[in-house]
């Protein structure tokens, strides 16, 4: 028990050290790299908290895709003139430190002083599982009990895509985003991009599929599929599709659209918006999740790719 405890403490110390490095590093690029490592370690903490679904999401999206995004940005911003950004004067830094420490201290105390036994919805969530036909309570929360949140969060993704695209120069509208790849395709990367995706696609679909009963689901599976697409784009094997492509747009909205449609159908067949008829809940949920996986797999790379940067090809 003490060994585990020591390991926990070591893990926590590592996570905090990396976090501090991310804040303190001089170079933005180094900080971004540090952040990726931090995210991976953090997903171990999530495993230690028995939240494997979150651990997968954190590793795939929180650390992985976000990391790619930030590293790419840091690389692009290397030429930025730093002249205007003088750092904060030391007394102010100290004041900021004190304020942050006060907030952190109060938070820690609050969390440690939480009531025992902790209130929980686990019994209700588990108790209602049979009516959803699912085995994974987290998936049940996401797609059934709090389906509304999940559907709207997909709309958030669509709006984020619109927002990112809206930053394109007018002339580039309808064109393709600049692919997230280095100037010269690397042979090694190309090799990886050829070997990995078949495996990755199988794993991604597997994770989505088992998500009904075990850790996994649309988010995690979709993120892995997204990673495969991003690798092939980075390696120069595929091009990002033009933003005017109807097929791309259909894929991007298919998740929330199917969700919304089935939710509306619920008004007629199950007596309420986002309600599922008992008996056929599980197939419907899997149907929705399939499209959500697809949407996530397409949305994450498009968000990383950024706004269109090339004029549309005739």
């Amino acid at each position: 028990m003490t060994v585990v405890n020591a390991l926990d403490i070591g893990l926590a110390a590592l996570v905090l050290a990396l976090a501090a490095w991310t804040v303190a590093a001089r170079e933005a690029f180094a900080a971004a790299v540090g952040y990726v490592a931090y995210g991976l370690l953090l997903s171990l903490v999530w495993v230690r908290l028995f939240a494997v679904d979150v651990a997968l999401t954190e590793a795939a999206i929180g650390s992985g895709v976000t990391g790619v995004l930030l590293i790419r940005a840091a690389a692009r911003l290397r030429g930025a003139t730093p002249a205007l950004d003088e750092p904060l004067a030391p007394p102010l830094r100290f004041l900021a430190g004190v304020l942050c420490a006060m907030v952190a201290g109060a938070l820690a105390a609050t969390v440690l002083l939480m009531p025992d036994p902790a209130p929980t919805l686990a019994p209700q969530a588990v108790g209602n599982l049979p009516s959803t036909g699912l085995g994974n309570a987290v998936t049940a929360v996401l797609i059934s009990y709090r389906a509304f949140d999940t559907m709207l969060e997909k709309v958030v993704l669509v709006l984020a895509v619109v927002g990112v695209w809206s930053l394109a120069p007018d002339a580039c509208w309808g064109g393709s985003p600049g692919a997230p790849r280095p100037a010269r395709p690397e042979a090694a990367l190309a090799f990886l991009a050829q070997v990995l995706p078949p495996l990755g696609i199988v794993v991604g679909i597997h994770i989505f599929w088992v998500g009904a009963d075990e850790p996994g689901g649309a988010f995690q599976g979709g993120a892995i599929l997204a990673a495969m697409w991003m690798i092939t784009m980075m390696a120069g094997l595929t091009e990002a599709p033009p933003v005017s492509s109807t097929r791309l747009r259909l894929v991007l909205v298919s998740g929330p659209a199917v969700f919304l449609a089935i939710g509306l159908a619920g008004v007629v067949i199950a007596g309420g918006f986002l309600a599922y008829p008992s008996g056929s809940a599980k197939p419907l949920i899997l149907f929705i999740e399939a499209f959500m996986t697809l949407t996530i797999a397409a949305t994450l790379p498009m968000l990383v790719a950024g706004p269109p940067e090339q004029p549309p090809q005739p």
């Binding site: 904060l88 102010l92 004041l95 900021a96 304020l99 942050c100 006060m102 907030v103 109060a106």
Partner: protein, 556 residues
Amino acid sequence: MTGAAVLAALAHAAGSFGPGLLAAAVGTPVAILAACAISRGRRRSPALMVLAPLPALAAALLAGFGAPFSYKSRAFDVTLALDAPGAMLLGAAALLWIGAAFYAGADGRGGDGDGRFRASWLLTLMGSLGVFVASDLLTFFLAFALVSLPAYGLIIADDNASRRAGAVYMAFTVAGETLLLMGFVLLAAGEPNGSLQIRDVVAALPGSPWGGAALALVVAGFVMKIGLAPLHGWMPLAYTAAPLPAAAVLSGAAVKAGVIGLIRFLPFSHALPAWGEGLAILGLFSAFYGVALGITQTNPKTILAYSSVSQMGVIAAVAGMGLASGDLRAPLDTAFYAAHHVLVKGALFLAIGACAAAGARRHWLAFLPAAALALSLAGLPFTGGALAKLAVKGTLGSGAIGALASFSAAGTTLLMLHFLFRLARNPSPDRGARTSGQLLSAWFAMALASILAPWLLFPLTGGHLSDALTPAALRESLWPMLPGAALALPLWRWGGRLPHPPAGDIVVIGEKIIRASYGAGAALERVEAGIRQWPAAAMALLGIAIILGAAMATGF
């Protein structure tokens, strides 16, 4: 006998037509404004502007000679009511608005291309009529705002002087509205049953925990409106800058919003000696201050403006003495005095244009009635002014304040003679004044109305016309004029040696203070620029979180 029958018939008519007339009185100007949105209405607008006050005049006649009546809107929380003091002022104001609109039309204003003047005129008119009939707090406040704010559009023109006058006017107006708003809120809060009727809140005023503050704020708000010294700074500037018909209605009718305010909101049923005498002293100070500053001016419009400062002082003194003694007749007497001022002051402004327009040969035709009116203001026997002085004599009492008030007639005489002197000498500074029959007839009509109307209205105050004609009364109204007339000679001779303070005198100091406050504004701007820096704002964010949390945890 027939008089009683006529009165009964009038009372009956008041009961059946009155409420509708009240709504029409207030609604007509805005209806005309709406009609001017279409071009056909715009072309007829000068005529429509003359007609706009007619329903108000009819309502005033019904209520004045018949019986009071009221109107309550079902759709809005608006109540209107007309009693004798209100009717007196409403009628006089409506007459003046009609005459001035006639004059303005002759002057070529408010036509198709002059939307600003027309809209300002009609909105001010609506407020000016509205204050006399509003019977609940919110309606009164609305009407008061209407009679005050749109008048800005009547004052300004394209020169710097008028822009300055407009700015000063707006500053005073908005400040006055603010005082009044807070006063009204206190009045309403002090009414235990939640009624917003002016009658109820004023009745509850003496017992209200906020009574003193409410009274002080309300009086301060109205005092700013009637321009008592030292809060008079806007008045000379605005009346000098405004075109003549506008100056006429502003000085005659619009200012009476403050007078009706005093009449309606001072709790005359309770004797409040300290408050009343304080107001009276302020009024008398203003009465003499206006004269003192007025005789240093050369522009007839400015002189008339200072005369208003002085006359409003007398009115405030009357209202104050009424409050001091708890005299329930004071409202009617004050209203009568004010109604006389409505007509005479309005007519005198028109006289400036009429005299300038009349060729030198027929100058006397325009000048003689003006002289009569000017001296009427000082209380010349056989004029309406004498009646007005007589009406308020009882309220003013025979003490020091009463004596001083009578003696103020000497100042008025001096000031009016000075005015007539400048009127005879000075061509009108008003560029718009042109020779026109319509213009002259407007002036004659107004002058006639000003002379006749007080004689018709005087019986309503409970006085007898014969009282005004007794030798004692004649003597009493004449004697204060003599020292004034005597002083006029040296003024005539050596007046040029007097200092010439700028119109609006102490307002210059106020403007300096405001300019100095720009520095404070710049300092605030610098502070704000600092706060808008990211680290400052972000730290403020954390600070607020910590303070809020601490405040909740310590449970203060």
